[in-house]
Symmetry: C2
Subunit: 378 residues, 2 copies
Amino acid sequence: MDKAFYNSNFKLGILGGGQLGRMFIQEAINYNASVHILDPSELAPCKDIATSFTQGDLMDYSTVVSFGQNLDLLTIEIEHVNVDALETLEKEGVEVYPQPHILRMIQDKGTQKEFYKEHSIPTAPFILSDSFDYNIELPVVQKLRKGGYDGKGVQILRDKKDVTHGFHEPSVFEDLIDFEKELSVIVARNTKGEVKTFPVVELEFNPEANLVEYLFSPAAISQEVEQKAQDLATQVAESTKVVGLLAVEMFLTKDGEVMVNEIAPRPHNSGHQTIEGNITSQFEQYLRAITGMPLGDTSIIAPSVMVNLLGEKDHTGEAFVEGLEEVMAISGATVHLYGKWKTKPYRKMGHVTVVDKELESAKEKAKKIKDTLKIKTR
Amino acid sequence: MDKAFYNSNFKLGILGGGQLGRMFIQEAINYNASVHILDPSELAPCKDIATSFTQGDLMDYSTVVSFGQNLDLLTIEIEHVNVDALETLEKEGVEVYPQPHILRMIQDKGTQKEFYKEHSIPTAPFILSDSFDYNIELPVVQKLRKGGYDGKGVQILRDKKDVTHGFHEPSVFEDLIDFEKELSVIVARNTKGEVKTFPVVELEFNPEANLVEYLFSPAAISQEVEQKAQDLATQVAESTKVVGLLAVEMFLTKDGEVMVNEIAPRPHNSGHQTIEGNITSQFEQYLRAITGMPLGDTSIIAPSVMVNLLGEKDHTGEAFVEGLEEVMAISGATVHLYGKWKTKPYRKMGHVTVVDKELESAKEKAKKIKDTLKIKTR
């Protein structure tokens, strides 16, 4: 008990100090947890609210090792980190969650796809290739095996002329699924093997930026699909044996099947609405999972819609928030700004969650918010 | 708009860095607000999460003036501060809310009572005296005019033998009200004069420590009493013209009347359940009020019970939290620890809010929490 995370000089560290770490800290404060941050940017959103902040490269072996050596527990808020360093730290006795081998698997979308296949987890058919494959059948989705993030490194090649922008790097070529909806389930698994899923949410993407624009909770799906999606998320959590969270993004096909699109081993944009809309938020659930505490009740308190605040298209520079006062006058809207002082096109600058008695009225409010609240430069 | 609190280098300061400031910061993070703290203790709960932390005496004129001079907006989380300094800062162009003259009035319980009388605000009949009044009719409540806090400086004198512990300082002697219930309403008034009340809550006190032990939301009262209590809170906010929050603690008398007991010009223990139980929390409402933003919807999302975590009676020293894991397994319970590393008898060390579908089941869970979660030393 000496080393319980809420009791004494327990030190928790996070690789990455962006908005996910920031929202995690907001909730970790409730447990007196000291949170130490490593991030390459001196303007990282977590900088001012972390117990300590270290500037450094997350991909650099010795930076990560020396950051981690004084910690009791190390976690991540971005998966692009030096996994060798995490393995070294694990050997030295630091608890590292999610486990380094899971990060290694997820970092490479090819290995990720092979994992699904081995574990009979439904996913779009694919082939792997070391470079661009000119014989590939179109249409196809090309995903870089490594380094993609927030919609980057993924593209749809529909016809011959698209082939000219093919990535010439190791890739996954995946069948283009003609889906009905995109769904997501956040699933938690703690150090004791307890697993709990959040209710299924529905995602609507900004086609230009390939980023989540709206999220609807609960998803408008049948009870049967809800169950299938939750079972699938549980299957992924149990077959990976992850400790922490997995955001399992799924396709609902036109014939009612669910298949895994991608997973992220951390809090995720598709769980932000849980802060206001569910009994336990994904951030608190994450803390519970990695510290071995009982997982929280994931039930929905109220229907909710989340809208991402992306930097406006033609604005790069010091951020200016437009329309906040009007949005704060909307009942049930909670604004989350991410502490980013510089904006650029499609940068994730914040989000707003609207809770309401009915999902439909929450949707209307969310549309109004999207039209009102803009991140610009002057 | 250059100086909007969420946009650029706006500096907000708080006198006091305890749990109220800490929970305020947790929500202010959502708006990118920089929060600067002045507190006498180097172990203040806000220290690690504030944008900057200054150690200093809140009652010292020059300490407060020099802390405030670089700020755009200065507020408080404790009313025992140097008001002369606030007046100086106000003259120098710093926005100070709540307004210094209101703090001056509230700091002195005698002036506070006279204010109620002048404004026809129902309150227990009283007399003022410069020292102990041996002719006072018993039973009576004696309250020190100045310096009382968290149950200190208030006592009930029931009979002749109690008179020996009478305070020999300027006091209010107040009729002992044989009340049915103790109620509280948090009311907000913003810089534009908009006023909004939270629904009425019911308080249960620890008789030994004179501190809130349980809080029930909503209060089990008739619609008529609910309306009277909200009207009374509105009347107090409008007659004081406060900018910020007032916690209006009230008695519900046995014949169904409500009268003001005391007011506090800041977030208050009787509003902690709003974090989980209401659309807008008292801390966010406070931020909205002092920055001139529209006040948020105060509706209840779910019935809730709050239980204070007070330091155990025979424990003084380094705090040790017992029973947290069991409490985290209770559905709907959210734990808030205040980042206080030292405990002493009855020190407010944290609170837990339980939300549930029904108030009765939330009450049962809260009783279990109180019996389980203990703040001790080893």
